[in-house]
Symmetry: C2
Subunit: 294 residues, 2 copies
Amino acid sequence: MDPDVAFAVWSGERARRVESVLERLLPPGAESAEKLHDAMRHAVLGGGKRVRALLAYAGGELTAADPGSVDAAAAAVELIHAYSLVHDDLPCMDDDVLRRGNPTCHVVFGEATALLAGDALQSLAFEVLATGMREPGGQIALLARASGASGMAGGQAIDLASAGRRIALSELERMHALKTGALIRAAVRLGAACGRPMTAGENDALDRYASAIGLGFQIVDDVLDVEGTAQSLGKTAGKDAVQRKPTYVSLSGLAAARERIESLRVEARAALSPFGSLARRLLEIADWAAQRKH
Amino acid sequence: MDPDVAFAVWSGERARRVESVLERLLPPGAESAEKLHDAMRHAVLGGGKRVRALLAYAGGELTAADPGSVDAAAAAVELIHAYSLVHDDLPCMDDDVLRRGNPTCHVVFGEATALLAGDALQSLAFEVLATGMREPGGQIALLARASGASGMAGGQAIDLASAGRRIALSELERMHALKTGALIRAAVRLGAACGRPMTAGENDALDRYASAIGLGFQIVDDVLDVEGTAQSLGKTAGKDAVQRKPTYVSLSGLAAARERIESLRVEARAALSPFGSLARRLLEIADWAAQRKH
């Protein structure tokens, strides 16, 4: 089978898999806090690229984990990601109305319910890990650190503070390393933790891969925000410029951004060399992430 | 020593203890996401009755847990409580400007930072449990369920939906059982889990105690909201009436509310009979909670 086709088949299968896991984990729409439950389901189900879940499953292949044993980790990182999007889209943050081709959570359910839905999704992510992994202590600490003040939330705070301000490229990279990178690193690590034990050196190699992927992913987003349309992206295009947010493109130009995407792809692939053919899916994700059009 | 004085000494010592644990766990104010860290510290430190921490320590006394081994549980429930207050006070929720005698988090730091601070405090609560308890899986699942859609966040959603609507007293009690009760039950259970193993019957007795305490605590809040002043409460008084929120007092009157507080105090005490003198602090908390003036 053509390698690109084989990857499309694998990633499609895994994306459907995590979708059905999430469907099962989310509260049904029929209890008394119904509107909250509907808001949670709206925020999580029905699409998204499921990059973090794919990274968890691909991390699991590295350590010969059974996909079933990776489900909890894959679902947990998607729940954290979904909660962060709901809160990011709120009027007091990015004030965005379109996400994954649909109206954002607060547009449909109101701000207060969207706020609570995000909060409850974060709780659910930790519940899923606590009940779905053997010896979850270390993994929960990893995900909590990746989500909190020294990870994703910390990165968003730096992002807020940088709007309308000229910052250095190194500062921008540090912000992205927290805002999106921390959860992407956690996704790969959590997936890999579901199989045979890893050495410290292997964990470091995996972190280098995930850091490169995470930054590359963000720069591709910056490029697509300039080049794309709302229709192709499923979210508002051109909003970085409107919000006067510094991006890789605004700081260094399109050509340099494209070069950096390619060098990060090469860096990510190189970090995987100790793993040989077990890293196949992670390699494919690195290539796909650099070339994606939405 | 007079029993009331002895309880005041114990609770003061434990409140200071959790304060210093929280102080140590929170990020310092000097890193690059400084404003976020300051907002987190503002939300958590410097007061509050620390009821949930006291319940965790008192739960620990029931199973002969060393106070040091209860610190993580006590801090985690206070962190969850603090995050919920920050989000509750936001303009899209209760829109409140005064809390614990200070301006609320979003008044001082802005809405976006307050939102992120709440998010990061929730992550920190799970990190603290994951790193501070032996075999934390079951305890994290307990706290996550108490915090999420079938606990605190679910109760807040019901609260939102009930504003301006006439609801039955039984519905109001169900809302409080989730909104404040779930975390109070979790606090006692997490503390007790730090010592010798409990039987299922003992856990049930503890849940009955905590449910009675939790509801009683809320009804006292309703009474104080009518009778108190902002100065005595450290938060805005009379806001339930302004927001047309149903309360125990508005549904059944002051006299019936006071009777219910007393019957819940008796119920809470009765639930503890299997534990004998080990339940001393929990008994004292039941008495104190029913009689408090702020």
